[in-house]
C-alpha cells in the first residue's frame, strides 16, 4: 500500500514531500529531497500517533521528534498497527469513528448510568458516609442549630421543667441524651435535630387529650434521632450535589439544575419512608414503656383533624405521607392490640405540662 505524505525533520518547519508504505509493521518513507533518503520506522515504537478522521500525524525518535503526516487508508493502517491491543488507545480510536449506533448506545448507557448513580449509588454512598460521622460531631451540630433556634423562639420554661420530668419517666435508648423543649407557638408541630434535641410546639400539646399521644409524639421524634434521619438526609443531599456539581458544573448550570430537581423528588420519597419508620418505631417505644399504643392512632387522628388535608395528588410533593396512609399503616401494626394499665405518674406530669401552656 503506497501513499504520499509530508515529513518534517524536527529542526525546521520546512516540509519534505515523501512516498510511504507499510511493510511488516514498519513504515518505509522515501524522501523526495535532494538526497532521496529512505527512513524505516518501527510502528510499535512511535512516540505519538494522532488520528483525526482519516488524517494522521505521527512522531518518531527522541526530542525534537521527526514528524510525518498523511491521509487515507495508509493513515488508518498505521493507527491500527500502533494502537495494538491497548484499551485506552482503542477507546480513543473508537470515538473518532462517527458511527451513529455507537453514539446512540453511548447516550442510552450514559443516561441509564447517570440515573442509577443519581438515584441509588450517590444516596447510598451519602448514607454510608453519615454512619462514619462520630456521634460527638452530630451532637455538636444539633446543639449549635438548637441554640440558634432557641434564641429566636419563645421557650416555655415552666413547661420545659415538667416535660423534662415526663421524658425521665420513659425508658429510651441512651445512645443520645434526649432533650425535649417546649416552644410557645400555636403551630401544630414538633421536630428533632441530630444529636438528641427535640422541639415540641405548645399548639400540639394543647390539642392532646391524653399522655399516650405525647409519648407517641416523643417516640416518633426519638426515632428520628436514634436512626440519624436528619444526618442521613443531609449526607444524601450533599453527596448528590457535590458529584452533580463537579461533573456538570463546568459545562452548564442548566443540566445540574434539572438533575438536582429530579433528585429532590427522590428525596421526598425517601423522607416519607423515614416518617413511616418513625411512626412504627415510635409505636414500638410505646409498647416497651407499657404505654397504650392507641395513643399513636389518637395522635395521627388529631393531626388529621387539625392539619389542612392535602388533595391526594399533592401527596407526591409532600415530605410526609398523607395522614390516612399513616393511620392505616398503624392500624395494620400487630402491636396495636397490646393493652396496658394507666401510668399514673405520666398522666400527672402530662396534666402539669398542659397546665403551663
Amino acid at each position: 500500500m503506497d501513499s504520499t505524505g509530508v515529513y518534517n525533520d524536527g529542526f525546521s518547519a520546512r516540509q519534505i514531500n515523501c512516498t510511504i508504505s507499510v511493510t511488516n509493521g514498519h513504515l518505509h518513507i522515501y524522501l523526495q529531497n535532494e538526497t532521496r533518503d529512505l527512513l524505516i520506522w518501527d510502528l510499535k515504537n512511535l512516540k505519538s500517533c494522532h488520528l483525526n478522521g482519516s488524517h494522521i500525524i505521527i512522531k518518531y525518535g527522541e526530542y525534537p521528534h521527526h514528524t510525518l503526516e498523511c491521509n487515507g487508508e495508509v493513515a488508518k493502517e498505521i493507527y491500527r498497527i500502533w494502537s495494538g491491543n491497548h484499551f485506552i488507545r482503542k477507546a480513543e480510536g473508537l470515538t473518532f469513528s462517527s458511527k451513529r449506533v455507537m453514539v446512540i448506545s453511548l447516550i442510552v448507557l450514559f443516561i441509564a448510568l447517570g440515573v442509577f448513580t443519581l438515584f441509588y449509588v450517590l444516596p447510598w454512598a451519602g448514607e454510608k458516609a453519615a454512619n462514619l460521622i462520630p456521634i460527638s460531631t452530630e451532637v455538636q451540630l444539633g446543639e449549635s442549630i438548637g441554640e440558634m433556634y432557641a434564641k429566636e423562639s419563645d421557650m416555655n420554661d415552666s413547661a420545659n421543667y415538667y416535660m423534662h420530668q415526663f421524658v425521665k419517666q420513659l425508658e429510651l435508648d441512651d445512645t443520645y441524651k434526649i432533650d425535649v423543649k417546649v416552644v410557645q407557638s400555636e403551630d401544630i408541630n414538633a421536630f428533632a435535630l441530630p444529636g438528641g434535641k427535640i422541639f415540641v410546639y405548645s399548639g400540639i400539646i394543647e390539642k392532646m387529650e391524653n399522655y399516650e399521644e405525647l409519648v407517641a409524639l416523643l417516640g416518633h421524634e426519638v426515632t428520628h434521632v436514634l436512626n440519624r434521619h436528619s444526618l442521613k438526609n443531609i449526607c444524601r443531599s450533599a453527596a448528590t450535589s457535590i458529584v452533580v456539581a463537579s461533573l456538570f458544573g463546568d459545562v452548564t448550570g442548566i443540566g445540574a439544575g434539572i438533575l438536582s430537581q429530579a433528585e429532590q423528588f427522590k428525596q421526598l420519597d425517601y423522607s416519607r419512608d423515614l416518617e413511616t419508620e418513625a411512626d412504627n418505631n415510635g409505636l414500638q417505644i410505646m409498647v416497651e414503656n407499657k404505654v397504650n399504643p392507641q395513643g399513636m392512632l389518637d395522635l395521627l387522628r388529631l393531626l388529621k383533624e387539625e392539619g389542612t388535608e392535602m388533595p391526594k395528588f399533592m401527596k407526591y410533593l409532600s415530605t410526609h405521607p398523607d395522614t390516612d396512609s399513616r393511620i392505616s399503616n398503624i392500624l395494620n401494626n400487630p402491636e396495636l392490640k397490646n393493652e396496658f394499665p394507666e401510668n399514673e405518674k405520666l398522666k400527672e406530669l402530662f396534666i402539669k405540662v398542659k397546665g403551663c401552656i
Binding site: 520546512r14 516540509q15 483525526n52 512522531k59 514528524t67 462517527s98 451513529r100 450514559f110 443540566g255
Partner: protein, 321 residues
C-alpha cells in the same frame, strides 16, 4: 527599516471539528468519569485537547497536542494533594474550636488558594505550550515562576485595593508578561495593549450593557475580542505579523442564542456541538496580514512534561490567556 503599507489581511486558520465526534467523545468521557468516580478526568481532558488541537489548522497544516492522560494524571494527583493539604489544614484549625486558630486557618487557606492562581497560570502555560506543535515545531513558555508570582501578587493587590478599578491594567500586565515569554520555535510574541484602553472598553461595555438591559453585551464582547487580537504581535525575523477580528455583534448574538437552545433542549448532551460552533466562528473570524515563513521557522524549545499547572488551572477553572 521595513515599512509595509496596506497589507492585505487573509484567513489562514480553519477549524475542522465535526459535531458527532465531539459529542460522542464528551459522552464517552462522562461515562468513564462516572464509572471511575472522576479518576478518568485527566484522560478525558487530554482526549478533548488532542481532538480540539488536531482539528485546528494553520496554512493547511494541523496543530498537535502531545499531552497524554498519564502525564496529566500525575499533575492531577499533585494538584489534588495541594488542595487536600490546604483543606486539611483549614479543617484542622476549625476543629481545634479556638477562634484564633480558625481565623489563622481561614487566612492561610485563602492565601494558599490565591498563590495557586499564578502557579496554575504559569504551570499551565508551560505545559500546554510545550506540548503543542505545528509541523514538528513546538511552542514554549520561558516565563520565570518567581518573577511571575511577584508580578501577579503586586498588580493583583493593587487591583484588590482599588476595588477592581486597576483590573484592566493588571490583566494587560499579565498578558504582556505571558506573550512576551511565549515562543513558537524562533518566533516571538508580544502584547501591545494599553490598560487605559481596556479600562475604557470595559467602562463603556458595562455601562451600556446595563442601560440596554444586556443588548449591548454582544458589542462589548466584540470589542474585547478586537482589543485582544489587534494587540497580539507575532514576530518572525524582525517582521511583525498583525491579526484582526472580523467578528460582528450580530455573529456573536447568533452563535450565543443558538448555542443556548442546543444546550438547553438536549439537557447538555449536545454541548459538544456548541463548543464546535464557538471554535468555528472564532477561527473563521481571525485574519492575519502576513503568513509566517515555515522555511525559516526553527525548533528552539526544550521538552517539558509537568502537567501540575494545567490540572490546577482546570480545577480552579482559570483560562487566562
Amino acid at each position: 527599516m521595513e515599512i509595509i503599507h496596506n497589507r492585505e489581511f487573509k484567513k489562514l486558520l480553519k477549524f475542522n471539528g465535526d459535531h458527532s465526534t465531539l459529542v460522542g467523545l464528551r459522552i464517552l468521557n462522562n461515562v468513564l468519569k462516572v464509572i471511575t468516580l472522576g479518576l478518568y478526568y485527566p484522560w478525558a481532558r487530554a482526549s478533548v485537547l488532542q481532538y480540539m488541537y488536531g482539528e485546528a489548522e494553520y496554512l493547511e497544516t494541523r496543530f498537535v497536542f502531545h499531552g497524554t492522560g498519564k502525564e496529566m494524571f500525575r499533575g492531577f494527583i499533585k494538584a489534588l494533594a495541594i488542595f487536600l493539604v490546604l483543606y486539611g489544614f483549614l479543617f484542622f484549625c476549625i476543629f481545634t474550636k479556638q477562634p484564633m486558630m480558625a481565623v489563622v486557618g481561614g487566612i492561610v487557606f485563602y492565601i494558599g488558594i490565591l498563590l495557586l492562581v499564578p502557579l496554575a497560570i504559569h504551570g499551565s502555560q508551560r505545559y500546554r505550550l510545550s506540548r503543542t506543535s505545528w509541523r514538528g515545531i513546538h511552542f514554549g513558555y520561558r516565563g520565570d515562576l518567581k518573577e511571575f508570582v511577584k508580578l501577579f501578587i503586586g498588580h493583583g493587590l493593587l487591583s484588590m485595593l482599588t476595588l477592581g478599578i486597576y483590573g484592566p491594567w493588571f490583566r494587560v500586565k499579565m498578558k504582556e508578561y505571558i506573550y512576551g515569554n511565549m515562543r513558537f520555535g524562533n518566533i516571538e510574541f508580544k502584547f501591545t495593549g494599553k490598560g487605559g484602553d481596556l479600562f475604557l472598553i470595559r467602562l463603556k461595555g458595562i455601562f451600556l450593557s446595563i442601560i440596554t438591559l444586556g443588548i449591548y453585551s454582544f458589542w462589548f464582547l466584540k470589542e474585547l475580542v478586537e482589543f485582544e487580537l489587534k494587540n497580539i504581535k507575532i514576530i518572525q525575523d524582525g517582521v511583525e505579523i498583525n491579526m484582526r477580528s472580523t467578528l460582528s455583534a450580530g455573529k456573536i448574538f447568533g452563535m450565543v442564542f443558538v448555542n443556548y437552545l442546543i444546550v438547553i433542549f438536549t439537557l447538555g448532551l449536545a454541548t459538544g456541538v456548541a463548543i464546535n460552533r464557538i471554535m468555528r466562528v472564532a477561527f473563521e473570524n481571525i485574519e492575519f496580514d502576513l503568513p509566517i515563513n515555515p522555511d525559516k521557522l526553527m525548533q528552539t524549545e526544550d521538552e517539558y512534561k509537568d502537567a501540575t499547572g494545567d490540572d490546577l488551572a482546570g480545577m480552579l477553572d482559570i483560562d487566562f490567556a
